[in-house]
């Protein structure tokens, strides 16, 4: 497994409400890896603290780009939270003299190792390492996947940072169902969806994940989500050609019935499926 390839990479704007998305992503990962609940709780707490620091301090209280990446190593789980904000003066010193604030103490209490790394060109990366074993018992199962050698992952810096857009990349593709499902449902709930429409999101992410299982163009899928009042839009890919079968009115593929708009566009890397889901009560 390549150490430098995250199993999940999330790109969001740092707002207080995005912490729910981040924790949802972690819960989704935990589901797929059958993670020990206490480890999940430690991850949620520490990563929330790291993200909270970004929300409060990185951009002087304004939202700005934030990346959360989760890596699985032989010896545990590594999470990195990165911003491009004002940065910390002497971040490692901040850990040593305790001036990094309460957030850092919480992270240090829960993670085996915490590092604050200044980012070239401004910004800070907080990297936390969590043990994968307790009393010789594994706390999660490694994701089942081929080698995670894949092409260049989409660099968030290249993308235009549209407000409120959430981008998540998973590799292996098996992580799509729980991770995209959690994030999409959190966005739908925040977008004032009724329980009826919220419940349809399960069917949609299930169907997309099932399609990705055999039709992903590579070993990763990237999804972009946006929510506004009673509207959820979702784009994901790349898929191999022939993704049009998703649109056939066949019972195993409920997308055309459930989504208000479905389009498929061709790109250099493969097909992208775009969906719009409205809640018109």
């Amino acid at each position: 497994m390549t150490k430098d390839a995250p199993i999940v990479g999330l790109h969001v704007q740092s707002r207080p409400q995005t912490l729910t998305i981040v924790r949802g992503m972690l819960a989704g990962i935990a589901e797929e890896l059958a993670m020990d609940p206490e480890l999940l709780d430690d991850l949620k707490t520490s990563v929330s603290e790291a993200c909270n620091n970004v929300v409060l301090h990185a951009y002087a209280g304004e939202p700005g780009p934030m990346d959360v990446r989760v890596f699985v190593d032989d010896d545990g789980i590594r999470v990195s939270v990165e911003d491009r904000g004002v940065g910390l003066r002497g971040p490692q010193a901040a850990i040593e003299d305790g001036s990094g604030g309460l957030g850092v103490s919480v992270m240090q209490a829960l993670a085996r190792d915490v590092r604050l790394i200044p980012r070239t060109g401004g910004g800070t990366e907080v990297e936390m390492l969590f043990d994968g074993h307790r009393d010789d018992r594994p706390l999660f199962r490694a994701p089942v996947a081929g080698p995670l050698e894949h092409g260049p992952r989409p660099d968030p810096e290249d993308g235009d940072d549209a407000d409120d857009e959430i981008t998540v990349t998973v590799s292996p593709v098996a992580l799509l169902s729980p991770v995209l499902g959690r994030i999409a449902r959190t966005v739908a709930a925040t977008a004032h969806f009724s329980l009826d429409r919220f419940s349809d999101v399960y069917l949609i992410t299930d169907a997309l994940a099932a399609h990705a299982d055999h039709a992903a163009a590579g070993d990763r899928i990237t999804a972009t989500l946006r929510g506004s009042d009673r509207r959820l839009s979702l784009a994901l890919g790349p898929f191999r050609g022939g993704t049009g079968s998703l649109l056939e009115p066949d019972a195993p593929s409920p997308l055309p019935m459930l989504a208000d708009e479905v389009t498929i566009s061709r790109g250099a890397e493969g097909d992208t499926v775009e969906l719009v889901l409205l809640d018109r009560r």
């Binding site: 103490s105 009724s194 099932a210 019972a251």
Partner: protein
């Protein structure tokens, strides 16, 4: 601040015009390390109360009153104060956080249930289901997730989590014992309504997928109503007499089964 016993003592210290209130935290730590004066400890406890509260909130679930958790966190805080050696040069919080968390975790273990109380999550899931039905019958339409969260006075995130639990693939076996809330336990299957003759016509139209024949009659009915008749999940729930969440589970499960069959 109005929380708990410890703060009240802090407030009374103010009214006495206690000079401790004016001392810096460093000074207080030095004094406490030297003479172990309980008044100094009290003042330090008061100052670090927000830390205890923050950590206690992490375990603020459906079962334990928050004040109890705060009290436990304060015990941890006092232990950390007693163990802290200012001469070491480390920040107090780096000792206090693990000590307080340890105290909270031990509290749950001593209570005899796991820190993570899967039962708590299940209970919350049941509560969410109940409340969504109450709201649906009150308003005549399914609530939004946010309305549900307000009604239950819970963060949106907790409600979404509970819905995940309620709707998990493996969450409820249809044959699992089910408490119908009226003291009569039957299996979920018993709570289903009778077959509706109008459905038969719709069902005949479900010829799109041969594999559908391998589903149970109930699953076919629900699929028909959703995808042929284009009813919402709530409308299906009213039509066949099961809860919207059960409709959601049936749909999810039967679509998953169809996909499996289609893959074979």
């Amino acid at each position: 601040m109005t929380h708990g016993r410890v703060t009240d003592q802090g407030v009374s210290a103010i009214t006495r015009g206690d000079p401790l209130r004016l001392a810096s935290t460093e000074e207080l730590f030095e004094r406490f390390t030297r003479d172990r004066d309980p008044h100094v400890r009290e003042e330090l406890t008061r100052r670090f109360l927000p830390l205890a509260r923050k950590l206690a909130r992490r375990y603020n679930g459906a079962r334990e009153p928050f004040d109890d958790l705060l009290q436990v966190a304060c015990v941890g805080l006092v232990k950390a104060l007693d163990r802290y050696d200012v001469g070491r040069g480390t920040a107090f919080s780096s000792l206090a956080v693990p000590t307080i968390l340890g105290e909270l975790k031990r509290y749950f273990r001593d209570l005899g249930w796991a820190v993570h109380v899967p039962r708590g999550a299940q209970e919350l899931a049941v509560k969410v289901e109940d409340c969504s039905q109450q709201l649906a019958s009150r308003d005549g339409r399914p609530p939004s997730v946010q309305t549900l969260a307000q009604y239950m006075d819970l963060p949106l995130e907790d409600v979404v989590d509970a819905l995940e639990t309620a709707r998990a693939h493996h969450a409820a076996s249809l044959d699992a014992p089910h408490d119908d809330g009226e003291g009569e336990n039957g299996s979920l299957v018993d709570t289903f309504g009778r077959a509706d003759p109008r459905l038969l016509a719709a069902e005949e139209r479900l010829t799109v997928c041969a594999a559908a024949k391998l589903l149970s009659q109930r699953e076919r009915e629900v699929l028909c109503l959703r995808f042929v008749e284009d009813l919402t999940q709530s409308e299906i729930s009213a039509r066949i007499g099961v809860s919207q969440m059960q409709v959601s589970r049936i749909l999810r499960r039967s679509l998953a089964r169809l996909r499996e069959l289609a893959d074979d």
